[in-house]
């Protein structure tokens, strides 16, 4: 199999960073510090399984179960464990609730701390210097750029994540969803809504 690669298609030399990444990986595998299978499994899990789906389940449960919501807001880490969600790396999950007059949004000004366990991996813009610095200074303007226009009377609270504490936004349940099941509600909840840069919308009926 190795003979097929490399010789047939005259590959371009890799970039310096790519060569370095490949060097680390191959050395780690040779020394049995990690296996290629373990890497595959984790990439697969983060790319497809974990995603923002866990967070959506948490939000939907909080919308239909006031007691769960109370526990979630009191102790996010313990409450998500009730739903079988683990994977926090020792950090604490704090869930902040949007309500009339208060809108929450999360950011990590230092790097890219993000609630992986519930939202998967952060999108590229979350890690950008522009988002990290501007969201703190002028959240209303940044939110408007995301298409989220808040009225004057709404207070914006910006939560700066850290290695110890990760935040997740509990968005408001959209009106007109009283007839939906918990699973149907979960399907409406987007990653952006749980970061706080969007509202949960109900798709227009056709």
């Amino acid at each position: 199999m190795a003979e097929h690669h490399g010789h047939d298609h005259h590959p371009e030399p890799p970039s310096a960073v790519e060569a370095r990444a490949r060097a680390l990986e191959s050395l780690l595998i040779e020394k049995n510090l990690v296996t290629a299978d373990a890497i595959d499994r984790i990439v697969e899990a983060y790319e497809s399984d974990i995603g923002p789906l866990n967070g959506a389940r948490v939000v939907a449960r909080a919308w239909v179960d006031p007691e769960f919501k109370r526990r979630l807001l009191a102790d996010g880490t313990a409450a998500i464990r009730e739903l079988g969600i683990s994977g926090l790396r020792g950090e604490h999950l704090v869930v902040v609730e949007n309500r009339p007059g208060v809108h929450n949004v999360i950011v990590c000004t230092l790097c890219s701390c993000y609630p992986w366990a519930v939202l998967g991996l952060p999108p590229a813009w979350y890690k950008s210097a522009a988002y990290r610095s501007r969201m703190v200074i002028n959240p209303r303007e940044v939110l408007a750029e995301f298409g989220l226009h808040l009225d004057e009377g709404t207070r914006v609270e910006v939560w700066d994540s850290s290695a110890e504490t990760r935040y997740m936004v509990l968005p408001e349940r959209p009106p007109g969803t009283e007839h939906l099941s918990e699973e149907e509600l979960a399907a409406l909840v987007t990653r952006d809504a749980m970061v706080g840069v969007a509202r949960v919308e109900v798709p227009a009926r056709t």
């Binding site: 790519e18 990444a21 984790i42 789906l53 959506a56 999108p123």
Partner: protein
């Protein structure tokens, strides 16, 4: 009713399409996902505590704020491996050079 409730996995797949709907690629190049996976796998195997890596990453990002997030990640991870004595700086340089000059097959 029972038929549907017994297949939560099927439903989960539908909702798992969320990242795509949000229009973001999580990784921009394969090496990014590989190095991410290696870091998490080694942490899960108990080779280092997460805050230790996180601390390095924060320092690297603070030092050189670029949009190349995974380049910073790579540097932080390499530093951790060398400090822990798991890999040697020279052997990394040597191996990277071999890949760079195509003396080693990237896809092996």
């Amino acid at each position: 009713m029972s038929g549907r409730s017994q297949t939560p996995a099927a439903r989960m797949e539908g909702a798992a399409a969320l990242p795509r709907r949000n229009g973001e690629l999580i990784f921009e190049a394969p090496w990014q996902s590989r190095i991410f996976g290696a870091t998490v796998a080694m942490h899960e195997a108990g080779l280092f505590e997460w805050p230790e890596f996180q601390g390095h990453l924060i320092e690297e990002i603070a030092q050189q704020d670029t949009e190349d997030y995974y380049q910073r990640w790579l540097v932080a991870f390499e530093r951790l491996l060398v400090e822990r004595g798991l890999l040697d700086r020279d052997e990394i340089e040597r191996r990277a050079g071999e890949y760079r000059r195509l003396e080693r097959d990237l896809l092996d």
